[in-house]
């Protein structure tokens, strides 16, 4: 089977190898173009597993951007390590946001900056504060609760991110201490992963980390509940079935299910008794 895109990629690799592993600006542009092609037309390469081609190309681009960020203007080790910390901070932020599903439209409001010193969008937070104080009429109670929950969740996220950044610090120190020149690059990366995750697990024994993680989840649950309460208010006003009414309906269904199970069990017992007697 002929795959022109794959052929182009192999030719690109061949050129890189000929130039002694140096990826200059021209080669980088070519590579970027190829990765974009892989992502936008993965079905040309595999009709069965197109999604995976897309993911592979996306990951490769992400990895390249991390490497670029680490190497860009990095003239000394402290600068490179700072870049590494920033990348890990961004990774932590993404990890936290992945845990949040609905109302997902609100999640990006929390983190617009990824730099360590400006963890949260303070401007947005101030706006929320002002917005909350302007809504003091009783009919805005649910909306106010939602805003309050959102701000609390932000604070919980900040606490957890600070804990995770401490882990990054500890892991980076350990990695520097264990850095071994003789290891191939992929083993270095794996070593870094192992050190990070072991540090993470060790830190999890600390009550402050446990509380930070659960505070984040509890804050999220509180936000979801506030959202549900607001939806209940809005749907009731619109004359639509509300989430609370749905909950009651589900409870009734469960009661019916249990009654049917009891009857089934009695029937089984009667049948078994009849079999034994018969």
């Amino acid at each position: 089977m002929n795959h022109p895109l794959l052929d182009q990629f192999n030719q690109w690799l061949h050129k890189i190898e000929q130039t002694g592993s140096v990826i200059d600006a021209t080669r980088l542009n070519e590579w970027n173009h190829l990765m974009d092609q892989f992502q936008s037309h993965p079905e040309q390469l595999s009709s069965n597993h197109a999604q995976w081609i897309k993911t592979l190309a996306k990951n490769s681009k992400a990895m390249f951007s991390v490497v670029e960020a680490l190497q860009d203007h990095a003239t000394d080790s402290s600068e490179q390590l700072k870049k590494l910390r920033d990348e890990l901070h961004q990774f932590n932020v993404q990890l936290l946001l992945q845990q949040a599903s609905l109302p997902q439209q609100m999640a990006p409001l929390m983190f617009t900056h990824t730099h360590l010193s400006t963890l949260f969008n303070e401007e947005q937070q101030a706006k929320f504060e002002r917005f909350k104080y302007s809504l003091n009429a009783p009919q805005f109670e649910s909306l106010n609760r939602l805003i309050e929950s959102f701000m609390q969740w932000q604070k919980a996220g900040q606490t957890l991110t600070e804990e995770m950044n401490q882990i990054t610090e500890l892991a980076t120190q350990q990695w520097q201490e264990q850095f071994d020149d003789s290891l191939p690059a992929k083993d270095q990366i794996e070593l870094w992963g192992t050190i990070y995750d072991n540090t993470y697990q060790a830190q999890f024994q600390a009550p402050s980390m446990q509380l930070a993680q659960s505070g984040w989840l509890n804050g999220w649950a509180d936000l979801k509940l506030a959202w549900k309460q607001l939806l209940t208010q809005l749907t009731e006003q619109a004359g639509l079935p509300s989430p609370d009414q749905l909950d009651k309906l589900i409870e009734q269904l469960d009661q019916h299910r249990r009654r049917i199970r009891q009857l089934e069990k009695r029937l089984y017992a009667l049948e078994s008794g009849a079999d034994h007697n018969g």
Binding site: L56, M63, V67, S101, Y196, Q213, D247
Partner: protein
Amino acid sequence: MRSNQVQITMASRLNSAMLDSQKELANAIAVLSELPPLENSSLKAEVVLTLDKMRLLHFKQSGRRRQPPLIVCYALVNRPTILDLAPDRSLIQDLRAKGRDIYLIDWGYPDLCDRHIGLDDYIGDYLESIVQCVLDRTKFDQVDLMGICQGGVFALAYASLNPERVRKLVTLVTPVDTDVEGFTLSDMVRETNIEQLVEAYGNLPGEFLNQIYAALKPLQLGVIKEMGLSRSIQDPSSAELFLRMEEWINDSPDLAGRAAIEFAETFFKGNGLLKGSFHVDSKAVDLTNIRSPILNIFGTKDHLVPPASSQSLKEAIDPKTHYQELPLPAGHIGAFISDRCRGKVIDAIELHLNGSAFKQSS
């Protein structure tokens, strides 16, 4: 001096790592482009009982020797397809090839209507009905019971409440003591208000649970895994295995709300199996009631269930109950599906069910 060394080698190593990764990427794409669609070969068996979302699957034995039926109870939070991942990587098929008559519980996918299903339902009703159904079908007086992970907790609870019905018991990567050091999942659950999460969600979404599991090893299961993605797809065989595994990982049923609260409160927070606070239908689960010989298999590198948690079973049961354990140098899933361990697991289970002790190899 040390940090300068880090700096000098880092740039060249990263560049070289990039080139290596691009070669792997080209190979992975070539492999995927030739790979046919994956055939769904998992869990092809006769459905012999259905209760709500639960299905009991019967994998008929291959030999003629009449053997007691083996009921396999998997966790609620993932799919049992992992036990029958592919024809050449199937714990179920390997046991079947040994002549075992296997009944596998598929708990299904709970939806919002199942949010009130709790542990009384899962253990006191479904598992009880399953055992009864199997006994009725096979005309045996007892079953062999194998529980995996959370399914092992269910199996232990059932065997303690119905000791006369279980002939032999096998627990695989099963948590018992939730207070042991390094039990990150248990630490996470301890301070979390599960009741509030359930009130917010109805059921605990599988996707949410997956995020929690990934957060136990965030770098290795996140960035490092993604960076090494093309390395996982080296040839058609590794690609197929990888894709099947990924499919399984992302196929996470929601956890029924009530069951989630009860499991978190009584098992994790209350350490209920050891402290006697785990109840089914108002009856306390007392592990010293178990009479059936136990084989306890666990991974010494398990990050989800620390080996010490599984091993505590030995101290929790009656000293007169026959107990043997098989520690394997593997993680939570690798302990029973990896090529390195599966053969040992099958042999140990076979010997245990046949009434023999197995010899542990180092």
